[in-house]
């Protein structure tokens, strides 16, 4: 916050001409309060001193810098909140360093207590500074501007012109011009202090400044609200599948502290089909062109279903919850039968893309109910398969030539222990590999497993989408506060707090008067007060001449005027 200080109530004429705004606040805080240096009298003294330190500009500077510095590891190191896999990878690649960084909370910077401490201190400092200044602004808006100094030439901007009007009339003309520009004015209270008018404008600057800082506080509160009452969730959905918005259905569910199951909007979504189109030619061949997830949703059980084309940048909004298309992949469909022909597995199995430009994907098929022993398969799905020197590679992300390569195992999958396993990983400790080489299957082909273990058929493939479901009640308030902050910022930069003084003294020649104009802009961030002052002075002079002409039209005193008393404003 820059240094507009409320005007002191009285300004002795001339004495403070160059600093009529009183002692600048900046001179106060540099020395730590300007307080007495003596030993602390009591605890209250310490508190007061501490509080003044906390709300000083210097502390704000340090805290702001710490805030920026503290955010750097949050950008450079992998963060638990956005990419837990990368954090794990960091641990494996930096086994010595990673635990230390973890102790310091550097893998979850923005949820770390020390980061919270920084912004809490910063906002306390902010509030401690903003609230008194709000009162001061309200006070200064009620106090009239200070009296005009005697010597207006000592001000940074000054000008003068001759007037044929007597001093009081000249000042009256000037006052009406200033009033037309919506300046707040003060006229002399005592008749012997001369003819002058004091004008001030630009209170909105400080108001904008305060609005900006308070709006930032509003953003923080909105974020906290969203965190408490909102939730984020992920869901992977295969074509043809459906889900309802309930905790058990969601793959990942991160509710805020005050969220309960009944707070989830009761919608259901069915994925009818998903299409991804890619560029076929040119330098960007293989780059995605468009994604369309065609879904049907109902806002609540039994409500009318609606269709929707869900795309990136085109989310679904249902019941103030939003559903986003985040990713996609392939889910090859497998059917496993026993040697006797009984079906023991028949479903699309989501595979995870290992390479996001060619969509070569990995996956696992677990068949715990196979007979005579449990079966497991590690598979690679190749959307557009081309054999390169004996190995299969994918050259294009669309499924133009889909092929699946399987390594089969039989034995004990380890699922009966009850400890949950990842569906994307196969624990081969209790398993025996069925064949040495992987088996490649085209769509429709069946592999008869050795040892009477049955058959597996690669039926075909479906696609899956991953959806993000979010509910954030703090979102709209945060946006509103953000816009208010921007508005306050613009006000504080564009508006300048300025004072203009006009003083008229009788001319030495006896008739008319000499009018002096002085101007002062305390904080002129965007510049331009010079131009404003120049045009204002010219306008004052012109209005004076016009008033004179209006008088002379009435036929009074025209002959008495000196010819070159007409102000030449030039330019």
């Amino acid at each position: 916050m820059t240094d507009v200080h409320a005007p002191s109530d009285t300004v002795s004429a001339g004495a403070d001409a160059t600093a009529p705004f009183g002692v600048a606040e900046t001179e106060l805080d540099g020395t730590g309060g300007g307080a007495t240096v003596g030993p602390p009298a009591a605890g209250a003294d310490w508190l007061r001193w501490g509080w003044r330190q906390l709300t000083s500009m210097r502390t704000a500077l340090v805290l702001l810098f710490l805030l920026a510095l503290g955010s750097v590891p949050g950008a450079v190191l992998p963060q638990q909140g956005s990419d837990p896999g990368a954090v794990q990878q960091y641990f494996t690649s930096h086994p010595g360093l990673a635990p230390w960084l973890n102790h310091l909370g550097l893998f979850n910077v923005f949820a770390a207590p020390w980061f919270a401490a920084i912004y809490l201190l910063l906002f306390t400092s902010l509030v401690g500074c903003v609230v008194p200044r709000t009162f001061r602004l309200a006070g200064s808006a009620r106090t009239p501007p200070p009296r005009a100094p005697r010597n207006l030439e000592r001000l940074p901007h000054s000008a003068s012109y001759s007037s044929a009007l007597p001093p009081d009339a000249a000042v009256a003309v000037a006052a009406s011009v200033l009033g037309g520009h919506r300046f707040r004015m003060r006229r002399p209270d005592a008749p012997d202090s001369g003819h002058w008018v004091s004008a001030e404008k630009g209170y909105l600057r400080e108001a904008g400044n305060l609005l900006f800082h308070l709006a930032l506080l509003g953003v923080l509160v909105s974020i906290a609200l969203g965190g408490l009452f909102g939730y984020k969730a992920d869901k992977l959905l295969v074509e043809g599948q459906q889900f309802a918005d309930t905790a058990a259905a969601l793959d990942e569910f991160h509710p805020g502290r005050l969220v309960s199951g009944s707070d989830l909007a009761p919608f259901s979504i069915t994925l009818n089909s998903f299409t991804a189109s890619y560029l076929n030619s040119g330098e960007s061949r293989g780059q995605p062109a468009a994604f369309h997830a065609y879904i049907t949703y109902t806002a609540s059980p039994g409500a009318a279903p609606h269709s929707f084309d869900l795309q990136v940048n085109h989310p679904l909004s249902v019941d103030s919850t939003k559903v986003y298309l985040i990713g996609h992949g392939y889910a090859p469909v497998f059917k496993v039968t026993t040697a006797a022909g009984q079906v023991v597995y028949d479903q699309p199995t989501p595979f995870i893309p290992a390479n996001t430009s060619t969509f070569l994907s990995d996956g696992v098929v677990k068949v715990p109910d196979a007979a005579p022993s449990q079966l497991g398969f590690m598979g690679v799905f190749v959307p557009t398969a081309v054999s390169v020197g004996g190995t299969l590679e994918s050259v294009f992300p669309a499924a133009d030539n889909p092929v699946v390569s399987l390594i089969g195992y039989s034995g004990n999958l380890g699922v009966n222990s009850g400890i949950p396993q990842s569906v994307y990983q196969l624990d081969t400790t209790g398993l025996r590999q069925l064949t040495a080489a992987p088996q490649v299957l085209l769509p429709g082909q069946t592999w008869t497993l050795p040892g009477g273990n049955g058959k597996i058929t690669f039926v075909g493939y479906k696609q899956w989408v991953s959806l993000a479901i979010t509910y954030d009640p703090g979102q709209v308030p945060a946006l509103v506060c953000g816009i208010l902050a921007l508005g306050g910022l613009l006000l504080s930069f564009l508006v300048r707090r300025r004072r203009v003084f006009v003083r008229a003294v009788p001319a030495a020649s006896g008739t008319g008067s000499v009018v002096a104009v002085g101007g002062l802009a305390r904080t002129d961030a965007s510049g331009g007060f010079e131009d404003e002052f120049a045009s204002l002075s010219a306008e004052l002079a012109a209005a004076d001449a016009a008033a004179l002409a209006a008088d002379s039209v009435g036929g009074v005193r025209q002959e008495e005027l000196e010819p070159n008393n007409q102000p030449e404003t030039g330019a």
Partner: protein
């Protein structure tokens, strides 16, 4: 829609043309430095100006200047000081200035503040080198704008969808903004530095990070591209100018401090020609406060777009985080300027740190640190 390769080629050609014309402009600015009219013959504290129209002759100008010397005070007034008359064209930034009344002068002479000399006359009066340099800059900007616009038409969208396009667009903004500032404040001496930086940046863009025209990935296909990235482009271009000015301030300030301490010889001409430290400082400040609200708006627009595309308005993605760090650093600079003991060099360090963070964000974080902003299209 397919990319219009013909237009893409036109865009490329105009970009190279702009680069060459800018280089010539930089040479002309350098020529003005070396061979141009001496300027800034006056010292800060004594000058005052009056409009030519209000005066009859140069004597009166001298008389009023003498009187004005006593009257003008304060740094705010000094920034507006300029000298008209025999010394050549108006010098230094700012041509409007206060004038004062000769005490008891009576008789009709009004001393009203001068209206500034119109810009074209000021350019003309600055000498042949400046005329050539400004003309070349203007022509270069024209070519640059054509290059950016044709690129946009070639790819049927706003032409800032990858790093190359972003850099070419922001250098265009920087050039336009700088030329405006230079003319407004008559700061011809800054030309060689800022336009030189523009040439370097544009050159690097053309050689190192050039990307052929192509369509956008689905995540970027949104009208928010026009809003968010445009704001970031504009503000980056403006902060670019502020950074160059800040470096100039630090170099000049250090040199002047050394001269004052007697450790260096004054008068080697180069640093005498650029505006004073106070003027550079004020110019930098005004540039930053022009760019700061635009950056703020860009961050807010980015958050709205992130919510549309990724499901959350703020996720501490590396690029988001660095944009936040940049914002905080510039906010720190603004606070520092209002704090005793932190104005001057320290504040400029902060401002340059902010620009360094911005550049790091653009060139390193977006390219090398995986996150959701990895659309640079580079490598």
């Amino acid at each position: 829609m397919a990319v219009n390769l013909g237009l893409a080629q036109v865009s490329s050609d105009f970009m190279i043309a702009a680069l060459m014309i800018y280089s010539l402009a930089v040479l002309a600015f350098a020529g003005d430095f070396a061979f141009g009219r001496p300027r800034r013959a006056t010292r800060k504290s004594t000058a005052s100006a009056v409009t030519p129209v209000a005066l009859a002759d140069a004597d009166r100008a001298a008389e009023l200047a003498a009187v004005g010397a006593a009257g003008v005070s304060g740094a705010a007034g000094a920034a507006g000081a300029a000298v008209n008359g025999a010394g050549g064209g108006p010098s230094g930034p700012g041509a409007a200035a206060p004038a004062t009344l000769a005490a008891g002068g009576g008789g009709g002479a009004n001393a009203l503040p001068a209206r500034p000399v119109p810009p074209f006359r000021a350019i003309w009066q600055a000498g042949p080198w400046v005329r050539v340099a400004v003309t070349l800059s203007a022509v270069g900007i024209l070519a640059h704008v054509v290059a950016v616009i044709t690129r946009g038409f070639a790819v049927h969208r706003a032409p800032w969808g990858n790093m190359y396009e972003f850099v070419t667009a922001l250098t265009c903004v920087a050039a336009i903004f700088f030329v405006y500032v230079m003319i407004r404040y008559r700061a011809w001496a800054l030309g060689v530095f800022v336009m030189g930086a523009v040439v370097v940046a544009l050159g690097l863009a053309e050689t190192v990070i050039y990307t052929t025209a192509g369509p956008l990935v689905p995540a970027l296909q949104s009208y928010w591209l026009s809003i968010h990235v445009t704001a970031m482009t504009l503000s980056t271009g403006i902060f670019f100018v502020a950074a160059v000015l800040g470096i100039m301030y630090l170099v000049a300030e250090r040199y002047r401090a050394r001269v004052a301490a007697g450790k260096a010889q004054p008068g080697n001409g180069l640093l005498e020609r650029i505006p004073s430290s106070a003027q550079l400082d004020k110019l930098t400040y005004r540039t930053v406060i022009f760019g700061f609200p635009i950056w703020t708006f860009g961050v807010i627009a980015g958050a709205i777009w992130a919510d549309q595309a990724w499901g959350r308005y703020w996720g501490w993605d590396p690029v988001e985080t660095f944009a936040f760090i940049t914002w905080v650093l510039y906010a720190t600079y603004l606070h520092a300027r209002a704090t005793a003991g932190w104005r001057g060099r320290r504040a400029h360090y902060l401002q340059l740190l902010g620009f360094a963070s911005l550049t790091f964000n653009m060139l390193v974080v977006q390219v090398f640190i995986t996150g959701m902003h990895s659309y640079a299209g580079v490598g």
